[in-house]
C-alpha cells in the first residue's frame, strides 16, 4: 500500500489534492494498475476458460423491486461452483446481479460498491439512481478490452428510486450500453427462458410476496431448459438468492424464506412439471 510504504508515512500528495468524488477517478490517477480496465493484457488466442455466472432476473412491483439469481457457475461443460453468489447490494437502495465471467464481474461489483460508498462519504449525499446506473455503465465500458477476449461482464442493476418512489431496473450490454427495463428483465445464458416465463406470469399489481415467488418460478424455468443455470438444490440446501429493495432499503431473503418459496414451487412442479399455466386468450 502506497500510503504506508513511503518513507515519511504521510499521506501522498494525491490524497490531499482536491479532486472528484469518484474513487475510480482517484485510482486511475494514483494507482491505475488496480483498476480492472487499467491492466495491459497480452494478446490471447481464443476464449479464456474461466467460471461463468449465468441467470440473473429482476421484477418490479408497486413499491419496490426484486433482484434474484441462481447459484451455478460453469466452466465449459463443468459446474465450477454450486453456491456462487451473484447478487450483491450496491448500496442501501440498490443491488447488482452479475452474469458473465465471474472473476472480473465480482471485482467490478466490489469496485462499484466502493464507488458509491466513496461518493456518499465525500459528498455527504447519495448519488441518484440514474447516476448510479450511469456510473456502472462507464465501468462496463472500461472493461471492453477484456470483454473482447471473452471476459465479458453483463450486470443487471436494480434499485429503489427514492425521488420517484418506485423500483427501477437497468440492463446493460458488454459495450456499456444501458437501457431501462419496464416491469421485468433478465440477463445471462438462461435469460431467454426466464424472460419467457416472466412474460406469462408478470402483472403490474404484484405484491412483494408474489414478486419473490415469480422470480423463483422464472429461475426454475431457466434452469429447466438451460444447462448452465442451476435449479434449487434441495439435497445441499442451496437456494436462489432473492433480494428485495423498497423504501426500507435493501433486504436479502433469509435461507429459510427462499427455501420455503423454492420448496412450495417444487411441490407444485411435481404435479405440473411446466409450472403455472397462462390463459390462452
Amino acid at each position: 500500500m502506497e500510503a504506508n510504504s513511503r518513507s515519511t508515512g504521510r499521506l501522498p500528495a494525491a490524497f490531499l489534492t482536491p479532486g472528484s468524488s469518484s474513487f475510480v477517478d482517484f485510482l486511475s490517477d494514483h494507482q491505475p494498475g488496480l483498476l480492472p480496465g487499467g491492466r495491459n493484457l497480452p494478446p490471447i488466442q481464443g476464449v479464456i476458460e474461466a467460471p461463468h455466472g449465468t441467470t440473473i432476473i429482476a421484477v418490479t412491483f408497486p413499491g419496490g423491486v426484486v433482484l434474484a439469481g441462481d447459484r451455478r457457475a460453469t466452466m465449459g461443460n463443468l459446474i465450477a461452483q454450486r453456491d456462487m453468489e451473484k447478487v450483491f447490494p450496491a448500496d442501501e437502495y440498490s443491488a447488482v446481479g452479475i452474469a458473465g465471467s465471474a472473476g472480473p464481474a465480482v471485482e467490478m461489483v466490489k469496485l462499484f460498491q466502493l464507488e458509491l460508498e466513496h461518493f456518499e462519504k465525500v459528498e455527504g449525499t447519495r448519488l441518484s439512481l440514474e447516476g448510479k446506473a450511469n456510473r456502472l455503465s462507464t465501468m462496463i465500458r472500461s472493461n471492453l478490452g477484456m470483454a473482447m477476449q471473452g471476459l465479458a461482464v453483463v450486470p443487471l442493476f436494480a434499485g429503489y428510486d427514492v425521488d420517484r418512489e418506485k423500483g427501477r431496473i437497468f440492463s446493460y450490454d458488454v459495450t456499456g450500453g444501458r437501457s431501462e427495463e419496464r416491469g421485468y428483465a433478465a440477463t445471462g445464458s438462461g435469460s431467454l427462458f426466464a424472460r419467457g416465463s416472466m412474460k406469462k406470469l408478470y402483472r403490474e399489481d404484484l405484491t412483494e410476496q408474489q414478486a419473490t415467488t415469480l422470480v423463483v418460478q422464472a429461475l426454475y424455468d431457466a434452469a429447466d431448459d438451460d444447462s448452465a443455470t442451476g435449479g434449487p438444490d434441495v439435497a445441499r440446501r442451496i437456494y436462489p438468492i432473492v433480494t428485495v429493495i423498497t423504501d426500507d432499503g435493501f433486504r436479502r431473503l433469509t435461507e429459510a424464506e427462499s427455501s420455503e418459496i423454492a420448496r412450495s414451487i417444487l411441490e407444485r412442479r411435481m404435479e405440473q412439471p411446466d409450472g403455472p399455466r397462462a390463459a390462452l386468450l
Binding site: M1, E2, A3, N4, T8, G9, R10, L11, F15, L16, P18, F23, F26, L27, H30, Q31, L34, K110, L111, L114, E117, H118, K121, V122, G124, D248, G249
Partner: protein, 275 residues
Amino acid sequence: MSTPFYVSPQQAMADRAEYARKGIARGRSLVVLQFADGIVFVGENPSRALHKFSEIYDRIGFAAAGKYNEYENLRIGGVRYADLRGYTYDRDDVTARGLANVYAQTLGTIFSSSAEKPYEVELVVAEVGDSPDGDQIYRLPHDGSIVDEHGSVAVGGNAEQISTYLDQRHEDGMSLAAALRLAVQALSRDTNGTEREIPAERLEVAVLDRTRPQKRKFQRIVGSRLSRLLAERADGSAPDAGAAQDDADSTEGTDSTGGSGDTGSPSADGTDPKD
C-alpha cells in the same frame, strides 16, 4: 543582500505552535464520548451542510475543530486512504490506529516543514469495537502528536476546560441520552463559568453505534430523535410535561427521515405519551 535574522529552532516551533493554536481557538469546541453502545460526537454547528463529524469507514469516525478547508482536505485524504486500503486488502484491515498514524505523520511533516503554513486543526479519529473495551479514540493536535484517549475527549478552543468538566463526570456504560446530555452541558459552559443554552438546531450529533446491524456503524442523529434524546431525563424516564414531546413531534414534521429506520436505540421508545 541583507542577512536574514537568526531565529532559534525553539522559537520558530513555538511561534508556529502558537499560530496554529490561535487558529483552532477561533473555532467552536466539540466533544467525543464513549457510551454503552458506542461513541457519540457532539458539537455546536450552525451549519446543516458543513459537517464537523463524518464517516471514514465502517467503524471509523472523524471529528475536527479548526479551519474547515484544512480539515476537510484531511478528511477526504482519510476517506481515500481507507477506501484504497480496504480495496487492496480487506475491509477489516482498515483501522483507526493506522489512520491516526497517517494523519499524525501528515500533520507532523507539515508542522515541521518551514515551507508550509502549519494546519490550524485538531482531529479526533475514533473506532467503535465489538465491546466498550475495543473502542479506540485518538486525538491529534496540530503538531502531529498523537494521544490515545479513553472515556471522553474535547478538542477546539475551549478544550481544556471542557475536558476537565467531562473527566469529572463521565462514567463508563452511560446511556446515549446521558452521554449526550453531559456533552451538551460541557459545551454550553463558557470560559467565565456562565452557562448558555444551545438549541437542538445548532447541535451536530453523530454516533458510531455498535448495535447497528449494518456494517457501517456511523449515523447522524437529527430531528425528532435528537430532540427526544435531549428531552429524556437523567433516570431514563419520559420527560415530565407534554411540552417536550410536542416539540419532538413538531420537528418530526419537518424532518421525517430523522427518526425513521433507527435501530438499536435503547432510549428511543421511552418517550411515547400514548403509553
